[in-house]
Symmetry: C2
Subunit: 217 residues, 2 copies
DNA sequence: GTGAAAACCATACCGCCGGTACAGTAGATT
DNA sequence: AATCTACTGTACCGGCGGTATGGTTTTCAC
């Protein structure tokens, strides 16, 4: 029982690394089981086919990410009562988190999967869509809370700004890899953070940095 | 000779569509040749192995993208002498271009390939890296030209802003697919455009829209 | 400690695919 | 007429996803 969960977890860990490096289609079960030290029968005991592996990978990734966002948003709210400061702190914490990864961000499973959608059935894609919507909703809520206190610049849809954050993260991961510089992602999140600051503090930036701000520079 | 180039092009077109939908590893040569109406021997006459197909796809994609950027930057410069207006027009043209695609953007080959790097040899990856650097350089140059005329906000590295545009495009493509809404990409480019406007026109937005601006709203 | 369920292993097999090899050919070019 | 281009046809190899089936060990509940 516990041992079964451990093996399952090990399979998922190995598979995720491979998927993020070669893609799902090029990730062979044989290779995964070789690294996990089990047999093919052992693999198919845990996952009835490759699609179920995909679904499990997706679920695992989404849950892990939810935990991270929960944590970082929670700490942001703890460190300031002001919604803007709170969000800026959250962004800084996230940037630090990304920057502290030794070999850069391992990659976003959602991104890989959207570029291989034809390989999965609807259930897998639905998990991804739901997760993305929920994360965007989180950012959107945070921005709307800020806008209720501070007047936002006109002509900017906050929903689009929320989605842009997801774009910057996924794009930042790709650019980090493509340019071979792991720090790009961290810098991108901080650049986005600066834009958020600009968005809500157009005229007098000094006013926007009350002494309650802790992590905000 | 001409016929050979035509067949080669047809193979590349079919392969690219498949790669963007299923990934490179899951794109089978058999499937490509079936759709192209040729035999396996015919395929290997044009490409000595799958890696050479990857390289050809990459080169083709990079060249096509270069042409698009050449065109859209050129038109931007034609429509205004002011570097800021010129860049804003370019961004708007690009957004329109993306929005006019009937089924949304087909996908960025660079993005797929960076998520499948282990499948390709160095030459393919080098093409991608060089291309990304050159595009970022383009945006960076444009931003620096603007900064020479308009004072940019402090605390923002223009290099990061340039890279962010690439992030927004690649991220926007992923989000468009993931959310099932092709218009997300267009909206993201326009949102980034608004940020650029904010970056260089902090105090008085009205001044930044002289009558010379044509496409700028 | 025993019995049952969980967590595997061993073996054999199918069909598809990437890739190689090699021989042949229709049509355009020179 | 000879040559080159752009293929077709056939045959083969090994690896992989996936199925099937039967056996074995480990773990846990009672």
């Amino acid at each position: 029982m516990r041992k079964g969960a451990e093996t399952r977890e090990r399979i998922l860990e190995i598979a995720e690394t491979s998927v993020l490096a070669k893609g799902f289609g090029a990730t062979s079960i044989e290779e995964v089981i070789a690294e996990a030290g089990i047999t093919k029968s052992g693999f198919f005991y845990h996952f009835k086919d490759k699609n179920e592996l995909a679904r499990a990978l997706m679920l695992r990734y989404v849950e892990e990410n939810d935990r991270i966002f929960d944590d970082v948003f929670h700490r942001g709210r703890q460190l300031s009562d002001d919604p803007l400061q709170s969000f800026l702190i959250t962004l800084k914490l996230l940037a630090e988190l990304m920057g502290d990864l030794p070999n850069g961000h391992p990659g976003c499973l959602i991104a890989t999967f959207t570029y291989q959608e034809r390989l999965f059935d609807r259930s897998v894609r639905d998990i991804a869509t739901t997760a993305v919507r929920s994360w965007n909703g989180r950012f959107s809520d945070a921005l709307n809370e800020i806008a209720a206190v501070y007047p936002a610049r006109k002509g900017m849809d906050l929903e689009d700004v929320a989605i842009m954050f997801s774009c910057v993260i996924d794009g930042g991961i790709i650019m980090s890899r493509g340019l071979g510089d792991p720090r790009v992602l961290e810098r991108q999140i901080l650049a986005f953070r600066s834009f958020v600051k600009m968005l809500f503090a157009p005229a007098a930036p000094e006013i926007m940095l009350p002494p309650t701000a802790i992590a905000a520079e």
